[in-house]
């Protein structure tokens, strides 16, 4: 619905719009700018200067120290996140497909139950989940952690795909069905090819959620297999002598870099996917 609110060109109204938007940009950017500036300052500089003062000497020591401490855990996070994101997205797609195209008695109830699961505070599931993992022989393994992420990511991935597929006309599936296409053929030939936008949304959402997770990571992974968020927590929550905010900030940026990159690079697909139907409810 792109149409002018006020006529295009220079007018007071448009000036106000641009002014508001730019002000909002500043508000959204300030924390990032502060973090970046801080990460390049020396500890003395941080104490004497203020938040937005330019570093007296730009130093990379914060980044080097941060990478030494948390860098080793970077790959752990990749190893946990990639399979969990892929599997939960795939399962979500299949679930969404069934819940929108192959509804049966009770499938709406199941969807309702699943939606409620979005609101389950994860702290409540820690103990029973670790009990279950112990019984499965997966306690303190990366596989176990991946499994937990898949289980608790399912609610949102299913929601995304189900809403997307609901907007696909039934007639399309009906026609394929008449032509003798089966369950998986319809899914693979018709729905999947048109799902790229929602797959992008789902991948971005899941990647962000799982990469940023701390609670499951700290509980279900141990020692050398811990994700980067746990290492970040260990760093930020430990202070010796003068607190090295530059190291903290650099480490926070390192931990947040992959998700930031995903949002910046794939942001437009995200919006495209949302436009294409994820928000149609």
């Amino acid at each position: 619905m792109t149409k002018p609110l006020a006529s295009r060109g220079f007018s007071l109204g448009r000036l106000a719009i641009y002014g508001t938007l730019l002000l909002a940009c500043a508000v959204y950017l300030i924390p990032l700018i502060v973090m970046l500036l801080t990460s390049f300052k020396s500890p003395e500089d941080i104490r004497t200067g203020n938040l937005l003062s330019w570093p007296e000497v730009i130093t990379g020591i914060g980044w080097i120290k941060a990478w030494d401490t948390v860098g080793g855990y970077f790959w752990n996070s990749v190893k946990i996140t990639v399979p969990a994101v892929v599997v939960s997205t795939l399962l979500g797609a299949l679930n969404g497909y069934v819940l929108s195209m192959w509804r049966f008695r009770g499938s709406q109830l199941f969807f309702g139950l699943l939606l409620f699961g979005c609101f389950l505070p994860f702290q409540t599931v820690l103990l029973p989940a670790s009990f279950t993992l112990g019984k499965l022989g997966l306690a303190s393994t990366t596989t176990g952690l991946v499994l937990v992420h898949i289980v608790y990511g399912l609610a949102f991935t299913t929601l995304f795909f189900r809403n997307y597929y609901t907007s696909v006309p039934d007639a399309l599936v009906r026609a394929a069905r008449l032509d003798g296409a089966g369950f998986f053929t319809i899914f693979g030939r018709i729905l999947l090819p048109m799902s790229v936008p929602i797959i992008m949304v789902c991948l971005i959402w899941q990647f962000t959620q799982i990469w940023n997770d701390f609670l499951f990571g700290v509980v279900f992974a141990s020692g050398d297999a811990q994700p980067i968020t746990v290492a970040l927590n260990n760093l930020v929550n430990t202070s010796t002598g003068v607190k090295e905010y530059n190291v903290d900030m650099a480490a926070a940026m390192i931990a947040g870099l992959p998700t930031l990159l995903v949002y910046v690079m794939a942001g437009k697909y995200f919006l495209r996917g949302l436009t294409a139907g994820a928000v149609k409810g």
Binding site: G134, A139, T143, V219, F220, G223, D224, N234, T240, K243
Partner: protein
């Protein structure tokens, strides 16, 4: 052997070499059959996994020495460090690990918690190590009793912290013209002088455990050893609700007015830095505060003073760090665990660890000349306090009560101190009802 900890590893191998599992099993059978000590199989050393929250600079350095020693003895060290919330995050991890039936070999557990874990039947008895290394002779009796469940050692103490210390920057005192206090009245007199000269009197971080540390020191000072014991160990109703307890809260409120209003959520070592840099005059904190002074290159007795909290001279509130040992199945892992237990009490580790942490070695036969003036003083005070009833468990550091009761006290104290309009008499009532409901 060694299945548990190498599950993943084996699994990978199995894919590539289907017969690998059988070979491993065969090897195990052969080594049993020939009665070869398993530790002699070089490829299969025992692993000891240690869950702890010693992550700050000095502590991490101390843990490193422990790790090196265990490695030198031929075992594998699996480090599981979880910082945050004074071990709260680590406790969550430990509980979930225990429920999944896969606890680590050793975990940093303190005081009454050791009994709780023991009662669950999860801890292993360290009879062989403790007898072979004469722990009963080495350890003070009060300390040894805490480490035992049902008469057997289930945990190794690594140090003794003293909580009732007051840290002073003498340069600041000199500039302001304040005198080192020995009574509560003198403490407030000094605080007034410092305040008038433009210094912060007390550096403090507004976290529940720090608030409660101050509260506990005041309680010890006002109630005395017996009253303290009655209130926080026996949870005696009269001691908790008496006039004296109201006075403790009143004094706490007064003390709060000398603290920085921006203190909420501040870490203790950030507060310590304020005293070190000369912005503040005093800090009420346990002996771990010294590690900050040491890290800043300051010398005890010259650049900074440590005195017993006013009115608690002759008393010693202790906070003991210990490693509790969990039951394991694998023979080699048990060997590694026993080695860790042995090394933790050896003089080498005791020296390095306690020099870094600012605490007192738990062994009674140590050469104290290796330590600074504050620790030496602490050592003398400990022996004196041990003779009478001056040796008291620290409530704020989970040595005196269950976690539930401690938490209830924390809630009341921290809420009280953060509300300048709070009424001491009401706080006392809240305290006793909160404790009752937590018991």
């Amino acid at each position: 052997m060694q299945r548990k900890h190498h599950d993943l590893h084996l699994h990978n191998n199995k894919k590539r070499f289907p017969s690998m599992n059988a070979i491993t099993r065969l090897a195990a059978v052969i080594s049993f059959a020939s009665l070869l000590p398993l530790s002699a199989v070089a490829a299969d050393p025992g692993t000891v996994e240690v869950l702890h929250w010693w992550t700050s600079g000095g502590e991490a350095k101390a843990v490193e020495t422990l790790k090196e020693q265990v490695k030198k003895d031929g075992f594998v060290w699996k480090d599981n460090a979880v910082a945050g919330g004074g071990g709260a995050a680590a406790m969550t991890v430990l509980k979930t690990r225990a429920i999944s039936g896969n606890p680590p070999a050793a975990a940093q557990i303190k005081g009454p918690d050791i009994q709780e874990w023991g009662a669950l039947g999860l801890l292993t008895e360290l009879d062989d190590v403790s007898k072979a290394n004469h722990w009963d002779a080495l350890l003070p009796k009060q300390v040894a009793d805490i480490m035992k469940y049902d008469g057997h050692y289930v945990a190794v103490p690594v140090n003794i912290h003293r909580v009732n210390w007051l840290w002073i920057n003498p340069q600041v005192f000199e500039k302001a013209g304040a005198k080192v206090p020995t009574t509560l009245d003198e403490l407030f007199a000094a605080a007034d002088t410092l305040k008038a000269a433009g210094f912060t009197a007390f550096a403090h971080g507004g976290q529940p455990w720090q608030d409660s540390t101050v509260f506990e020191d005041l309680a010890l000072s006002i109630l005395g050893n017996k009253g303290y014991h009655a209130a926080f160990v026996e949870l005696d109703e009269q001691a908790l609700t008496g006039e004296k307890m109201v006075e403790v809260f009143k004094t706490l409120q007064r003390l709060g007015t000398y603290m920085d209003p921006n203190r909420a959520g501040r870490d203790w070592n950030i507060a310590a830095a304020e005293v070190i840099s000369g912005k503040a005059g005093m800090q009420i904190m346990g002996d771990w505060a010294k590690s900050e002074w040491t890290a800043a290159g300051k010398v005890a007795g010259k650049d900074y003073l440590c005195v017993a909290f006013p009115g608690t001279q002759g008393s010693f509130t202790y906070n003991i760090d210990s490693l509790a040992m969990f039951k394991l199945k694998n023979e080699n892992d048990i060997k590694a665990q026993n080695d860790l237990a042995k090394v933790a009490l050896e003089p080498e580790f005791q020296t390095v660890f306690n020099q870094n942490k600012g605490s007192l070695p738990v062994r009674q036969d140590m050469d104290m000349s290796l330590f600074d003036a504050c620790t030496q003083k602490s050592s003398v005070d400990f022996k004196d306090a041990e003779k009478g009833n001056g040796l008291q468990p620290s409530m704020a550091h989970n040595m005196a009560t269950s976690l539930a009761v401690q938490g209830a006290i924390f809630d009341v104290v921290t809420n009280f101190l953060n509300d300048p309009k709070a009424d001491p008499a009401t706080a006392v009532k809240q305290l006793s009802s909160a404790i009752k409901s937590a018991k």
